[in-house]
Subunit: 351 residues, 2 copies
């Protein structure tokens, strides 16, 4: 496996990741090394990491897993732990976990004493191919996702597909949704390849997804233009995810499950507004419904979801802009969508 | 009055500041303009700003003044206000206040939706010559100052010495301590000039101080080396400030009052370790005691202050490094100080 070069850090896989981690820590004079885990990664991933990492870990900081804990109070707990354990500017934070943990750990590291080094070791497929790559860090504000954060790159991102063995299939599929997105926005051949797969954790696909995300981020790190294509499916997807998180009667959707719905809906908008063929649209719907069960939405649900849209952080001046597809593998950004199409998109999803 | 050029923003004074503000807002298409005030700046400075600023302000956000409110919960309040008032990525936050407000407003703006534009309009002498310049933003963690934050530059810093007319003399002197520091670390002529003054708000001195700070920050924005000289007096000064804030029986010291003591103490260390002449040391002590009453410290106070030292964010690997003076106008960084000298420094201060 090769390494994928990124702007100010590198993404390494398997043996190269192991070597990079040990070499990095040996070459730097970190005053303290902190490891951030949650109850799951402590149980399932820490033993594996102990086999991989030769260096000392001074303290293990534990937080509770789950999007519902991705808020500033959890950051406060980590900041206080770092401070109480004599963390200083030359400390290193290693984030061992899924996207919630790497987003939050990255934010805490970027703001502790105005920034200390951090390394991401994603343990879910979603975090490997998406969350841990690209430097977006942050937390939710109430039910609004990722409202508070900074863009800041880790020292390195290390990918060990072995961690995926401990993951439940629902989590794996959630990550696969982002990989499918990478095909949809940038690479039709990759999309065609992915929709036929039944092994969702193929290392070469993980690497292809990381490479696509990295290519995009490298060209536009602060999301002035091109990087926005990575938000395909996310504008409606985030609103759906927030809505289900807020409503305790509803089953919570995983991120990938929500954006899978978002991609069908935004696929419909693409067909209506940007000429995505009906054939491609139907292929998108059929493929996602092969991996993800259809979710029931009432009219009231849909109204509430559309209310949440206006809070999405990618909105500006009150308009909701979308990333749409002209064809599979060709995304366009900053498309305004007339409101009446949203209901039609849900109708297409439900039919 | 000229403008002082800084790295990615400009510092403007008086008429130029007025023109720069109005032009900047006219040239940009901000979706919303938010103004952050506290109860004091709302009362005393907002009416003045209304005369200066032609543009619309969509919402005024008010926080409580005072270092004791410089914590993450106040940030949470501002983030929520921005979110509830439909702030988005193209919003602007104008910070109208002292250093606590500009530090906190800068941090909130730097982290809201991963960063929106902000402008600092400092209303205290301390904020004009120090806090609002250089891009350090952040909040305290418990009694530990500025533990959480990022380095990020505002769009511009606007100086209106007129605001100082509403300030009480104790606040003015607090800012003067930082100006005296600028002389001590970089410019003996300026120091000699300042210690003879009785008008502490001379616009040309404000500008000289801003220029000194800016020159230093420009050469080393992220404090890898040179910028550390700005911490002269602050290592012990911060510990003293934190200690007095924590102990409700003690009168709280203003920042400048605390670092004035810090500069006498660190002047003593400079004499012991870096050859600062006894004559200069005595001049430093005499000058600060001319402006600032001597504070009583018991042995227990001093022990507690020295305990707090190890938490100072500029420490690394458990050692406490100091900025010391070789002569007035010549600072050196990263000097380790043997612990036994701390007690002697306090003894010199008290004698």
């Amino acid at each position: 496996m090769d390494s994928v070069k990124s702007q100010s850090y590198e993404v390494h896989i398997n043996e190269l990741a192991k070597a990079a981690l040990n070499q990095h820590v040996a070459n730097r004079t970190y005053s303290k090394i902190f490891l951030l885990v949650d109850e799951n990664t402590k149980k399932y991933c820490l033993p594996v990491l102990k086999e991989i990492f030769d260096g000392p870990v001074d303290s293990i900081l534990e937080i509770q897993s789950g999007e519902e804990n991705k808020h500033i109070q959890t950051c406060l707990q980590i900041w206080e732990d770092l401070s109480n354990l004599d963390g200083d500017r030359k400390s290193l934070l290693i984030n061992l976990g899924g996207g919630v943990l790497t987003d939050m750990g990255g934010f805490v590291a970027s703001t502790f004493k105005r920034g200390i080094d951090f390394i991401n070791i994603p343990t879910t497929l979603l975090a490997m191919v998406d969350a841990s790559i690209g430097g977006k860090t942050g937390v939710d504000l109430g039910s609004l996702k990722n409202q508070i954060g900074v863009i800041n790159q880790p020292q390195m991102v290390l990918i060990f597909p072995e961690f995926l063995k401990t993951l439940d299939p629902r989590q794996i599929k959630s990550g696969y949704a982002e990989m499918l997105k990478h095909g949809l926005i940038q690479d039709e051949v990759y999309w065609q390849d992915l929709i036929k797969k039944s092994n969702f954790t193929d290392a070469s696909c993980i690497q292809r997804s990381i490479a696509i995300k990295n290519e995009v981020v490298l060209q536009d790190p602060t999301e002035q233009g091109l990087r926005k294509i990575l938000n395909f499916g996310h504008t409606l997807g985030h609103a759906i995810e927030s809505y289900c998180l807020e409503n305790h009667d509803r089953k919570t959707l995983l991120h990938g499950e929500a954006i899978a719905i978002g991609m069908i809906l935004e696929g419909y908008l693409s067909h209506e507004l940007r000429g995505l063929s009906k054939l491609s649209l139907d292929e998108i719907k059929k493929s996602f419904l092969r991996f993800f069960d259809k979710v029931d939405f009432t009219d009231e649900d849909i109204d509430s979801i559309l209310q949440l849209l206006k809070y999405d952080k990618k909105n500006s001046h009150g308009n909701v802009n979308f990333v749409l597809l002209q064809a599979i593998g060709e995304a366009v950004i900053d498309i305004e969508v007339p409101e009446e199409l949203f209901q039609k998109a849900f109708a297409y999803y439900k039919e």
